[in-house]
């Protein structure tokens, strides 16, 4: 077992969404705290892909943003190569360079006023990876080729590209600082299927060529199944299940994972009289007591309504947070 590249321990992120102070005092309203992430633990081994799946509001993107240093976590620890990451305070150029992110919307993540070469070349300048302009131009061209673009595309602006090409530019930019760990937050959700296939293939090839480690976030289970080695399932800020891909899709443990996998529209289940997952994700502002999933869970009992289950290790590796499984009811 190699040492993990990335470790996340008991990571939490709370947002204060209280009404303004005056309103609170006059209307006697309490503070309101949104727990977007609540005690998340996982590790990622070098050159592996951890897929994170969950519905909107489950904390996937908050986790990505904390890891990328775009927002500080409220508590908990993140370690890269065994050393704590301190991205937010700009004191850790090593981790800053090694951890890069690809965003969901290639229309919003590229500066429309910058040429592609400026966007892709900026990390090179920021980290002092190119000594001269000529060197930078050469490296940008190389990165564009690696991302499946034309080296001359550097002179163009983002609006001259299609969605899939823009996502390739975003990939080239993320690779510019020669990172080891890429956080991909829904990188293909805005793309058409045939374009998605091309971008996923590109990401897989780059992972192999550059020995990259991925945190791959998506709401699309089939994409996760294609890309990930390990899969984490998130629900309302909690990591409810974490297993190797092969185990999770064959024998999902947590009731939420089971229902999620059943719900995936598949080309094989034609005209299936689907038994959709009942109910909706509760508001993270007002989460249910006990297990967050209990109002939608067919196996919930009094203990589930009262007591929050903690992740327990599974015999075959991974973990699951469910009373029904711990008690052998499921």
């Amino acid at each position: 077992m190699t040492a993990p590249l990335v470790e996340v321990a008991d990571l939490s992120r709370r947002f204060d969404v209280s009404p303004p102070w005056v309103t609170r005092v006059l209307q006697r309203r309490p503070r309101r705290i949104l727990r977007a992430l609540d005690g998340v633990n996982f590790t990622i081994a070098p050159q592996r892909t951890l897929g994170l799946v969950g519905e909107s509001g489950c904390g996937k993107s908050t986790l990505a943003r904390c890891l990328a240093g775009l927002m500080p976590p409220s508590s908990g620890e993140m370690r890269y190569e065994g050393r704590p990451i301190d991205l937010a305070s700009r004191r850790d150029p090593r981790a800053r360079r090694a951890i890069q992110m690809i965003f969901q919307d290639p229309y919003a993540s590229l500066n429309p006023r910058w040429t592609v070469a400026q966007s892709v070349g900026d990390p090179l300048l920021a980290f002092g990876l190119a000594q001269s302009r000529a060197e930078m131009r050469a490296q940008v061209a190389e990165l564009l080729v690696a991302a499946g673009l034309n080296p001359d595309d550097g002179a163009k602006y983002p609006h001259q590209f299609s969605g899939g090409q823009r996502q390739r530019i975003a990939v080239a930019r993320a690779l510019a600082s020669r990172p080891a760990f890429l956080i991909c937050d829904e990188p293909t959700s805005a793309l058409d299927v045939s374009v998605q296939a091309a971008v996923l293939n590109l990401m897989r090839r780059l992972q192999r060529d550059h020995g990259l480690t991925y945190l791959f976030i998506s709401h699309n289970l089939t994409v996760i199944e294609h890309m990930a080695d390990e899969v984490g399932v998130m629900y309302l800020g909690h990591l409810v299940e974490l297993q190797a891909k092969s185990a999770l899709f064959v024998a999902p443990k947590h009731p939420y994972t089971r229902l999620l996998i059943e719900t995936v529209p598949s080309l094989d289940t034609l005209g299936r009289a689907s038994a959709p997952l009942k109910g909706e994700v509760p508001s993270p502002l007002d989460p249910p007591t006990g297990c967050a999933f209990h109002p939608r869970c067919p196996h919930a009992n009094a203990r589930c309504r009262r007591e929050r289950p903690l992740p327990t290790p599974l015999p075959g590796g991974g973990s699951v947070a469910c009373h029904a499984i711990a008690e052998g009811r499921l």
């Binding site: 519905e55 909107s56 299609s162 969605g163 899939g164 058409d192 299927v193 045939s194 374009v195 998605q196 296939a197 091309a198 996923l200 293939n201 897989r204 090839r205 709401h219 699309n220 289970l221 089939t222 994409v223 199944e225 294609h226 899709f249 229902l259 999620l260 996998i261 719900t263 995936v264 529209p265 598949s266 080309l267 094989d268 289940t269 034609l270 005209g271 299936r272 689907s274 959709p276 997952l277 909706e280 994700v281």
Partner: protein, 357 residues
């Protein structure tokens, strides 16, 4: 009930009255009636051009029929003409921005040349639409009760109190809990999935016989998506309502549609029963599109890709629009455009390739 009271075309179309449409085929047989199921909707050579008759065709020569109670899926990638088809059926594309030609028949009668006032009565009445984003489809400053009552009274002769009762009934039908209390809620007080249910209730307000649903689940989570799709299919079965389901998601099509039309660059590539098209696609584009979807348990290292990108509609290649990306291109593909031709399994495919095993 509003039926288009229109001059009938001399062509022999069997038009079942709407009361027949509510009965299933076995029920009709029980009554000893033999009814040729008239197509609910028929498109013939529907073409939409940008600007004027010489403009680029965003939709080119689309022909299909939809039976009552049938769910027809329309798939394709961005720019393939899916949404344009839906908008053209409701006649939402007007000159001088677009030029629409070809025939659209609803319950046997042409609606493509209908006067705007008559069309206005059909829209939201006999033909309704469900949009992708439920938040922008609803008016944020009115309660959903106000919006429902207004739509109901616009299309059905009802008093305000009757319409209110009907609104509650509709909200129950689409599965909104405590419907009566929710009438006074504003759209922002609903979750995304519930909002889309409200939009569907609004679409049902005028007792439609055809619903055009344009990406109804794209903005929703997977578990909610399954609920909305199940709701649409149930409504279609129970009410004998035709549904045109526009989506880019083949999985949604597989679950909900009876037949599917695959569009490419504004043209029909393939049309047929869902099982046939998904399992034995004839058109190389349909084959490539289906192969490119990641599938659970496939264990592929790389996904099969279609090379190149979809051409701009104002710069379509001559011949078959797919030929520059096709692996099985032949000389004729570069010069002549293939018409949809019948294949095995009741499928139509616009491709010069002969039937292959």
């Amino acid at each position: 009930m509003i039926k288009p009271n229109l001059e009938m075309d001399p062509k022999p179309y069997v038009v079942a009255t709407s009361s027949y449409l509510r009965l299933s085929a076995p029920e009709l047989a029980q009554q000893g009636k033999e009814v040729m199921p008239a197509p609910l909707l028929e498109l013939r050579d529907l073409t939409v051009r940008l600007g004027n008759a010489a403009g680029a065709a965003v939709l080119d020569g689309l022909t299909f029929q939809l039976a009552p109670g049938e769910v027809l899926g329309i798939v394709g990638e961005s720019g393939a003409g899916k949404s344009v088809t839906g908008a053209a059926i409701l006649r939402l594309l007007t000159s001088p921005l677009c030029q629409t030609s070809g025939e659209i028949r609803f319950e046997g009668a042409r609606i493509d040349n209908l006067a705007e006032a008559q069309m206005q009565r059909l829209r939201g009445g006999a033909i309704a639409m469900v949009f992708q984003d439920p938040l922008t489809a609803l008016n944020p400053v009115f309660t959903i009760g106000q919006q429902l009552v207004q739509t109901i009274r616009q299309h059905l002769p009802m008093s305000a109190a009757q319409a209110r009762g009907r609104a509650v009934q509709l909200l129950r039908e689409v599965g909104i809990p405590s419907a009566e209390e929710r009438l006074t809620s504003y759209p922002h007080e609903f979750s995304g999935g519930m909002r889309q249910r409200v939009v569907i209730a609004l679409a049902l307000a005028g007792e439609p016989r055809l619903i055009v649903a344009d990406e109804p689940t794209t903005a929703l989570d997977v578990s909610i998506q399954a609920q909305i799709i199940a709701l649409l299919v149930t409504l279609s079965r129970n009410r004998g309502m035709g549904v045109i389901l526009i989506t880019h998601d083949m999985g949604v099509i597989a679950e909900a549609a009876d037949r599917v039309a695959v569009l490419y660059a504004g043209q029909l590539a393939e049309l047929g029963p869902v099982a046939e098209v998904l399992r034995h696609p004839h058109h190389p584009y349909a084959q490539g599109l289906i192969a490119a979807i990641p599938k659970i348990g496939a264990g592929l290292d790389m996904l099969p890709q279609i090379r190149g990108t979809m051409p701009r509609i104002d710069a379509l290649p001559p011949g078959c629009p797919f030929h520059p990306r096709c692996d099985r291109v032949m000389p004729i593909c570069r010069t002549e455009r293939p018409e949809p031709m019948p294949r095995s399994g009741g499928t139509l495919a616009a491709c010069w390739l002969e039937e292959s095993a």
